[in-house]
Structure formats: C-alpha cells, structure tokens
C-alpha cells in the first residue's frame, strides 16, 4: 500500500508579501499584488533573510527559494535538530527558466569587459538546479536533490516528484517547491514578442476580456512527510497531498491542445492516485493564466474530467491576484490551495466580471466563498499546472482531518 503524504510546512514569497500568511489572507480578501502590469515581490528584501555570502552566491530565483523554504522548514520543525534524518530528507525545487537575470547581467560583462571578467559564479548562479542545490546545502538535506524544469508546470512537477519519493519510500521527508525571478528585460521582451503577455496589464483569468498573462515572480515551498511518521512525532498536519497526475499534450510548443485532453487525463490520473471520484472534489485551483487559449482549454478539461460535477465546483485562479509566477506558480498555488482548504474557503478570481461564451463554470467572482459539503470527509481540491511544451501536472490536495 502507498504511504500517504502529509504537508507539515508551508512557505511563500509572492507579490502579496513574504510568507504563506499574507498570500492566503490577502488573496481571500480579494486583494491584488499586481502593479503597473507586473507581479513583483516588492516586499521581499533579500538582506532581511540571507547573509552577504548567501546573497552573492544566489540569483534572485534562488534567494526567493531559500526564503520560502526557510519558512516551510521552520514550520515543520526542521530548522534545528531535524526530526527526520538528513539522509532520508530530499529536496526538489522547480523553475521555468532559472537564473535568467544572471545570464543577462553576465552577457553584458562579456560584451563590454571581455571573457576574462565574466564571473566564475555565473554558471552556479544561473543553472536551473541552483535553487534546489542551495536549499539542500543551507539546510543540510542529504537525500535525493534535483531541479525540475517544465516551464509553468515545474512547481507542480517538483511537488509530484516529492510525493512519489515518499509514497514509494525513497525518502521520509522532502522539501518541494518552485521559484522564478524572470521579470527581466530579455524575458519580458520575449514573452511580449509571443503576444503571451497582456497588453492591458490586467490579469483576468476566465473573463471574456482576458488578453494574456501578467508576469509575476516569487517562490513557494512545502515540507512533505510520510503521514504516519509525521503523526507519530506529533507534527502539525496542514494537509495531505493525496494524489498526483502528469501528462503531455504532444501538440504544440506553446499552445494547449484545444480540447484539454492532456490536462483532463492529468486530472483523472491525480484522482485515481488519490483513490477518489470526481464528485469528491470541492474546489479547483485553476492554472487560469488569463490567456485566451489556456482558460478555454482548461475549462474544457475540467468539464471532461469532472463531468457534471464541474458545473457545481468553484474554480478560481490565484493568478488574478499575483500574475503568472511561471515555474513557481504550481508551488505557490499548492501552498494557497492547502491554506484555502484548511480555512474552508474558496478565494475569488479577482476581477472576474464578464462571462465568455461557452465557459460556463463557477469562477468564484467578487469574493471568497465558504467551502462546504455533506458528511465528514475532508475537503478536497485539485490544483492544475500546465506549461509551455505541453506539460500538465495536477495535484489532489486534502484538508487535514
């Protein structure tokens, strides 16, 4: 029998503030962290969280990963004497692009000062696995450790990797997360050229007026543990990752498969892994990017995977409040989903007003809504993440019981 995977720590750095608390408090309150068409982490002051040496040896995406991970590890009680042996504690952190700020900066050095002045730290800062390696190093986590790269699905894939390790017994604990700091001149220009970014600077997932995503940055982290041993040691269980499913569209480099077939299969796999039926899902934390194609295909996917139950299920997108955090999105959204379930609330799709033809789900307009169902089963949600390249990763999260 598979082991169950408990969540014992949460951490976030997001445009709504530093910490998992401000993320859920402000989102549930309908606030937005987007300013001037960007979701920057304006409250994140790296020197408050990291030493001079750590700062110099970390691109911004790693700085955010270290900070969010620190919060999750501390909450789970891993910041001092560790409750799980270091060798049995793994670490997987996803990113879409990695240290693109470092790449751009060092390319300027190369152009202007020559090869001899390019920093010896350039590669260790820009590599996409820098966040996972740095988190493991700082916190002495000695089990499996690697980065996951699958564009905007990376955060969810990283969590899925940790879930499998614990289910299978490869690790007893795993720090998982995602991180991204790609609001840089090159990345912004490139997303702009693809016409993926909203020209109006508005993140309006599932709204008829949606016209592209808003770039965001940040990091999310979760401490996962074998539920049985976490309970034995008296850890506070914040939720359970009951299931994980992942697929590929094999369709197009950037566009989702219009019927949402790949996404629907990932949802079905996550439900199967959790051993539950579609009708047992109380809330959907959507990928909901605010692009015309994603939000329509995701709606199709939900209708396929959840059937008649889709129409009765609240569906909301955190990207309405923070923009698109790319490789961090799945992790930050899993943090928010866990907290939404434990509070029994479906936070709103901030700013949703106009229904688009054929998109008939309940997108939780206006304000947060209580989540309730009959019986004494725990509340359950799915959190969807899809990435350029056709990657689909879905987590099934359960409230702690």
């Amino acid at each position: 029998m598979k082991r169950r995977v408990a969540i014992t720590g949460l951490g976030a750095v997001s445009p709504l503030g530093v910490g998992a608390g401000p993320l859920i408090d402000r989102w549930a309150d309908g606030q937005s962290g987007i300013a001037d068409g960007e979701g920057r982490c304006a409250d994140f002051e790296p020197t408050d969280h990291l030493s001079r040496k750590e700062l110099r040896r970390a691109d911004r995406f790693t700085q955010m990963a270290l900070t969010a991970s620190g919060e999750a590890l501390a909450q789970a009680g891993f910041n001092g004497d560790k409750p799980v042996p270091a060798e049995r504690t793994a670490c997987v952190v996803g990113t879409g692009i990695g240290g693109i700020g470092t790449i751009e900066e060092q390319h300027l050095v190369l152009e202007h000062k020559g090869a001899g002045q390019v920093s010896p730290l350039a590669i260790p800062l820009l590599m996409a696995n820098a966040a996972s390696g740095s988190v493991a190093m700082k916190n002495d986590l000695r089990g499996q450790c690697y980065g996951v790269v699958s564009a905007c699905a990376a955060g969810a894939h990283a969590i899925g990797a940790g879930v499998r390790m614990i289910q299978y017994g490869d690790a007893d604990a795993c720090l998982v997360g995602g991180s991204e700091a790609a609001i840089t001149p090159l990345a912004s220009a490139a997303f702009g050229s693809m016409a993926a970014i909203s020209p109006t600077g508005e993140s309006r997932p599932f709204d008829a007026r949606r016209d592209g995503f808003v770039m965001g940055e940040g990091a999310g982290a979760l401490m996962l543990e074998d539920e049985e041993s976490a309970r034995e040691r008296g850890a506070e269980i914040l939720g359970v990752i009951a299931g994980y499913g992942a697929t590929a569209d094999a369709h197009h480099l950037t566009a989702p498969e219009p019927s949402g077939d790949g996404a629907a299969r990932a949802i079905a796999l996550a439900l199967e892994d959790a051993g539950i039926e579609a009708g047992q899902i109380d809330y959907v934390n959507a990928h909901g990017t605010s692009t015309p194609l994603n939000d329509r295909a995701e709606t199709e996917a939900l209708q396929t995977a959840l059937g008649d139950h889709a129409a009765d299920t609240p569906v909301s997108s955190l990207k309405s409040a923070i923009g698109h955090l790319l490789g961090a999105a799945g992790a930050v959204e899993a943090v928010a989903t866990t907290l939404a379930l434990s509070r029994g609330t479906a936070p709103p799709t901030v700013g949703w007003e106009e229904r688009d033809e054929g998109m008939d789900l309940d997108y939780v307009p206006d304000s947060a809504r209580p989540l309730e169902h009959e019986g004494d089963e725990p509340l359950r949600a799915i959190s969807n993440s899809f990435g350029f390249g056709g990657h689909n990763a879905v987590l099934c999260i359960e409230a702690a019981s």
Partner: protein, 83 residues
C-alpha cells in the same frame, strides 16, 4: 590602471573591501588571515583576481593563486608586480 602611484595601503583596502563583499567579516581580515579561515574559496579568489586585473592591470593566474593563501601574500604579490 596606472602602475605608478598605487600605495600598499590602497591595495590592502581594495582587497579588504572585496573580501567583505564576498562575505568575510571585516574584523577578521588582516595580513596573516588565511583565505580558508575567512571562508573565501576558489571561486571568490578568481573574482579577486578579476578585480585586481581590472583595477591595477595585474594578472594573477590560477597557478599564482595556489601559493597565495593569506591576505598579506596576495597584497605582496600585487605590490611586487606594480613596483
């Protein structure tokens, strides 16, 4: 990049600033301080060499670096090349 008027004090001060930037504590830095004890590693030393080259035009190769294990020895090396 003048090679005429750089005083030893100036080189010492530049090296000290660089080491602080790398994460070392200023109070721990002195001529006899070993780079290893300052937690300054080979990656930092390459950056130090780049700074010295940019500011003073003095090249320090990886081979040179092997024998420069203290702050004082590094300053001596730069000073000798400039005189």
């Amino acid at each position: 990049m003048s090679t005429e008027t750089v005083s030893r004090e100036k080189i010492e001060s530049r090296v000290e600033d660089a080491l602080v930037e790398f994460g070392a504590e200023r109070d721990d830095i002195g001529p006899d301080a070993k780079f290893e004890s300052l937690d300054v590693d080979s990656l930092d030393l390459v950056e130090l060499a780049q700074i010295v080259e940019e500011d003073y035009g003095v090249q320090i190769t990886g081979e040179d670096m092997k024998s420069l294990d203290t702050v004082g020895k590094a300053v001596d090396f730069v000073e000798a090349r400039l005189s």
